[in-house]
């Protein structure tokens, strides 16, 4: 190294602070990895004695102290499916409006603001809304359908945001090319924009599944019950006007209200819930990484 570049006290100090800053920020980022891994591993280890296929496919018995989680697991699947059927179309079309049709005016600003606020409304307020609007006002009563509608409105912003992002990633030149061969707006959206962004939209939908599955507060007063026995192994055991159990609420109940439950039981329920959510999420991340690697523009 030439002599001009010999280290002075000032540059050494600079280099040191640089290292220090990098290390500190790195440590902070690392501190996010640690709790995630610790939590997952710890829960899994504690739950291990109970985890089996039977645990998933048998009803809770003996005041929820024994048996499995079948009725709660199936209830969660029902809630997620029905709410998805409502929120996915509305959310995707709303995103299409915001990205393809909306002009930069006060209405669009209002909609965007509404979406931001909808995302920020506390889940328990969504629960109050579901109770007031669907259960009482609309007269549906506490049921899978009321709970699912509540969940649908709650998760709408998630799907709008992710769909908007994937629509925006389709280059404008694709649209211009299509307009110039004489297609209308809707034809362009239907034939060019949606096919080119469908993967991103699906990723968002998958992500929404995981959000919906974990929610507790919104279903507590709109359709979920503490305990319900259903025929084991029958996937059509609930009807949409029934109340159902939900995995998330089951974890809450067993943790806080059931005394003398075996030590591993709440851990096993937590692992079932967390496992479902994380697997679905990993699926969404995997799809995204795979599709991004194939993207040609």
């Amino acid at each position: 190294m030439p002599a001009v570049f010999t280290e002075t006290a000032a540059t050494r100090r600079k280099r040191l602070t640089e290292r220090l800053a990098q290390g500190l920020f790195g440590l902070m980022a690392l501190s996010l990895v640690v709790p995630l891994v610790t939590i997952v591993v710890y829960l899994f280890v504690q739950a291990w004695p109970l985890l089996s296929w039977d645990f998933l496919t048998s009803n809770p018995t003996n005041g929820m102290r024994q048996g499995g989680i079948w009725s709660a697991f199936l209830g969660t699947i029902y809630l997620v499916t029905v709410s998805l059927c409502v929120s996915a179309p509305i959310g995707v079309l709303a995103a299409v409006y915001l990205n393809e049709y909306a002009e930069d005016n006060w209405l669009t600003r209002m909609i965007n603001l509404a979406v931001v606020n909808l995302a920020g409304v506390p889940s328990i307020v969504h629960a109050l809304f579901g109770l007031g609007a669907f259960v009482l006002f609309a007269g549906i009563g506490r049921s899978i359908i009321a709970a699912s509608l509540t969940l649908a409105i709650m998760t709408l912003p998630v799907i709008i945001a992710s769909t908007k992002e994937s629509l925006a990633s389709v280059p404008r030149s694709f649209r211009e090319a299509c307009w110039n061969v004489g297609a209308t707006r809707w034809q362009t959206i239907r034939r060019i924009v949606l096919p080119n962004s469908i993967s991103g939209i699906l990723t968002g939908v998958i992500l929404q599944v995981s959000r919906t599955a974990g929610e507790t507060a919104p279903v507590m007063f709109t359709g979920a019950v503490f305990f319900k026995k259903i025929p084991e192994g029958d996937v059509f055991a609930y009807s949409l006007t029934d109340q159902c159990m939900a995995l998330s609420m089951h974890l809450y109940t067993v943790t806080t209200q059931v005394t003398n439950a075996p030590h591993a039981l709440p851990y096993a329920i937590a692992v079932a819930l967390l496992g479902t959510v994380l697997v679905v999420n990993a699926l969404s991340i995997g799809t995204r990484v795979y599709l991004r690697s194939r993207k040609k523009w």
């Binding site: 939590i39 509305i90 409304v121 109050l128 297609a183 209308t184």
Partner: protein, 322 residues
Amino acid sequence: MTQTTVQLSPPPSAEGGAELVLSTRAKRRFAEIAAERAIEVLIYACGVSAILFVFGIFFFVFREGAPYVFGGDFKLGEFLFSTEWYPTSLGNPRYGVLSLIVGTFSVTALATFIAVPFGLGSAVFVSEFSGNKGRETLKIVIELLAAIPSVVWGFIGISVMNPVIQDVFHAPVGLNVLNGAVLLALMSVPIMVSIGEDALKAVPDSYREAALAMGATRWQMVYRVLIPAAKNGLLAAVLLGVGRAVGETMAVLMATGHAINIPHSVFDPVRTLTATIAAELGEASAGSPHYRVLFIIGILLFTITFIVNLTADLAIRGVRKR
């Protein structure tokens, strides 16, 4: 040279767009145009629905609480500034939510205090210091962290944090402000990281290049250039994290220990606004004053988060304008 029409803006909705460019093509059938028009109306309706839902939430929650507000017994001052929450007292029920507000405030404040350094620090690391691989990995970790349901956090609060706090701090109860705040911090960090990273990304690269060209180290660049330039977005990141913490229900319901009082230290148990609704709505008989007051608390929460989110949105908009 003949002029060709090139369309760089979308054609007007639901007309035979073809005619504008190629007059040789046949006119579209009426049914086709009508169907397209119908779809566009549907799209418009879905777009506007978000506004309706926000108003709907306010309306229906208020509708359940209103009869008590206008019933004559309700005094706003007493509701907001009395610490006496005795909703089930037989002769003299009192509905003062000050302790609940203080409970929410104390847990949120401590959570923010813990989360801000980690959240913004990680945002800086992800956006400025880490390589491509590290960034992708960290983003996945943060996404998974954000995916953990709040009831699972609450369970962790009870089963893991509770004994840890009792052992480490020799606290009489482990379900307290500190427990809830740590959980809320972990829950709001992912939001802070992702919004904070967006804010840092929005700073033009020319700023970075200018700083580095003048001999600044990366740290100096972050500290002197990026943070001042992105401060609005970073503020929004913090505010959205706070908004999430204020509205969080299950984790604080399970982990803060259910005592309605003004906390004197971080080891005191408290009860938050959200937890009160969740814990008591099931027991309050429909239509009773107690039941209606819980809906009024809902309106209070709605208002608080609305203001927080609005402020965050304005801060973000400030970033975009530049």
